[in-house]
Amino acid sequence: MSERTLAAAPSRRWALPPLARLRGMALRWTSPLVLLALWEIIGRLGLVRPFLLPPLESVVARLGEDIADGALLNNAAITLYHALAGFVLSVAIGVPLGLLIARRRAFRWFCEPVVSVGFPMPKIAFLPIFMLWFGVFDLSKIVMVTFSTVFTVIAAADAGARGVETRLVWSAQSLGARSLAVFWEVALPASMPQILTGLQVALPQSMIIAVGAEMLMGGAGLGGAMMQAGSYADAVGVYAGIVETAAVGMIAVVLMARLRAWLLRWHAEFNPR
């Protein structure tokens, strides 16, 4: 019988010989480094007014200051708090609701049109309403993030649960699973790939909204700090803020990808045959 064992199939990237790997890494870093070099050269030669493009070294120096005096850690923590609290809330609401919409007719009738209208709306426009209702502090920022991302999560869970194979449900039923068990033990895990794809969209969304809401409402956080720098014409502060925000965003994206790989370790995507 032609049955293959895949106990220790090495991932393709590490199968490359070391030299080729080194070359690949060098290639990846070439253009970002060239870009940084250009930035520095332009700054040194004074080709562009420093206000538009402050010298690389002053931005790096500012980053160092922000790290040293704890401003970066503080602002990043606050922004992450807004983004993640809103995101978690949106997952807690969106996943069960999406599954219910897919698998319970009454929910589908009521929620489907609401979601189909809510999904493409520019939700940021509701920000003044949330300011009116919840003030300008943490709560309204978190609610804004949840409201902006929850439709993405609902749509992903709905699409995932709708695509669940009937045979899987039948298998569970014939093995003795009741209706509620089918919901949690079959519909939820079977929708996991699509739910996680949705979350991979929703997490960057919540970062965008958290930063944007901080800019609009002021207060601490990366967005607030950048807005302040912008209004004081502190170009170095703006550039440093962008680098900091990008770094935080990068960490969030990478962690989410890790989480996906771990939760879907059973999936064919991570078990190439």
């Binding site: 520019p122 426009a125 909204i209 930063v211």
Partner: protein, 246 residues
């Protein structure tokens, strides 16, 4: 009739909104009755402020989005078809991908001041990546067998691109464009709220600052409706373009 039944839940929500405010369950300061909001909508239309600001907003959104689609498609296709180009541009795309787009608002303010250019450029930058990634992934994902069969049937390089690669990549390209449309609205409103001198976002902010809540709700609903119909129109268009699927 079918549309009516389908959207009946929205009607229920609207009636509920009117009811809770009329019955005094919610303060009209926090939530003006729907009928009042609709009345302010009518007066906003008749005094021309909605149309004027709306036109300015839409002009910026369309300009930024249009530029992003053209540049993004070229970049994405170049990355997918030219390995050397991919090695140059790919890492930069990867680097900018996780940057929350709203962080660019202060940057465009520094570059372009508080004018139209700042907002248009912001929309352009924000919409660029979804288009690039949609095009790139779409073209890269095309099954080699399709290309080979076209080549063996005698198709030239150009014909393969036009008749095989593009149609096969179209679903993903359109998915990228749909995300870009949503981003265009998001960034349009956000930038107008922050860099406030005209446009629908500016109108929302100004009405809110003056405590004129019924018209503020009216403009917010208008923006939402615009976003909704833009997306619906786009979905209809892509369904037409993708008739061959199923």
């Amino acid at each position: 009739m079918r549309t009516f039944v389908r959207y009946a839940p929205l009607l229920i929500l609207a009636v509920l909104w009117e009811a809770v405010t009329r019955l005094g369950l919610v303060s009209v300061q926090l939530l003006p009755p729907l009928s009042t909001v609709l009345a302010s909508f009518a007066s906003l239309v008749s005094d021309g402020s909605l149309l004027g600001n709306g036109a300015q907003s839409m002009l910026r959104a369309v300009a930024g989005l249009g530029a992003a689609i053209i540049v993004g498609f070229i970049l994405g296709a170049g990355m997918a078809l030219r390995p050397r180009f991919e090695a140059t541009v790919g890492p930069l795309v990867e680097l900018f991908y996780p940057l929350p787009k709203s962080a660019l608002i202060p940057l465009v303010m520094v570059w372009f001041g508080l004018g139209d250019m700042a907002k248009g450029f912001l929309i352009f930058l924000g919409c660029l990546l979804p288009v690039v990634l949609g095009t790139y992934n779409g073209l890269r994902g095309v099954d080699h067998v399709l290309v080979w069969s076209a080549q063996s049937l005698g198709a030239s390089r150009r014909a393969v691109l036009r008749e095989v690669l593009l149609p096969a990549a179209m679903p993903q390209i359109l998915t990228g464009l749909r995300t870009a449309v949503a981003f265009a609205f998001l960034l349009m409103v956000a930038s107008e709220l922050i860099i406030a001198n005209n446009g629908l976002g500016f109108l929302i902010g100004e009405l809110g600052d003056n405590g004129a809540y019924p018209p503020m709700f009216a403009v917010i609903l208008t923006v939402s409706a615009l976003g909704f119909f833009a997306d619906r129109g786009f979905v209809l268009l892509s369904d037409r373009l993708l008739r061959w699927r199923e």
